[in-house]
Symmetry: C2
Subunit: 114 residues, 2 copies
């Protein structure tokens, strides 16, 4: 996607504070962190949101959640606890229309989810 | 799990305001909703959290996210947008130690994620 910010990060056209990369996924620190640890996990493939998932993306999303748990453990936030969030569409709070998971932790998170 | 509240709901020992059920998953309305639509999606199998996922649970979790998007569409919150959240552990805000996804929507959600 030509103009997608996250696709530009994947292509290296915009820098990021990278945490993890493999053939299919990229994890980087959020530029506006809301917690001591706040990372974004994205697929390199452009998928608009979880609502745009095709059947073949189901396994991909399961793997993303699995990677999120491993990244949380590596960041030292797994034992005490962390939150995994994805927003779909405007009212969900999605800003960048490229599927991404927020991984948040490093302090006691609020019970307010929305 | 004998004392798990969500396992008791799965076994029918505690009532719930059910939205969806199939062989593996259950969706019901949160008893303390934080948005006009606030549902919980759980696996009938007791898994403590996403951090306790085994390799065989990866596909299960992918299917949960897919079901969440279909349930959100059926609830009429998909077009405008919704949020999908799971908390793992105390600092993440997890209260019931049985994997569950919060599906929230029906109004503009806050940009505060934690």
């Amino acid at each position: 996607m030509e103009d997608c910010v996250f696709c530009k990060i994947v292509r290296g056209e915009i820098p990021c504070d990278m945490v993890y990369e493999d053939e299919r996924f990229l994890v980087f620190n959020d530029i506006q962190p809301q917690a001591p640890v706040h990372m974004l996990l994205i697929p390199k493939k452009h998928v608009k949101s979880i609502s745009a998932m095709t059947d073949e993306d189901i396994a991909l999303v399961g793997q993303m959640v699995n990677i999120a748990t491993r990244i949380a453990a590596a960041a030292g936030i797994s034992a005490k606890g962390f939150r995994l969030v994805t927003n779909s569409g405007k009212e969900g709070g999605q800003i960048v229309p490229h599927l991404h998971w927020h991984i948040l932790g490093g302090r006691q998170l609020s019970g307010e989810l929305g």
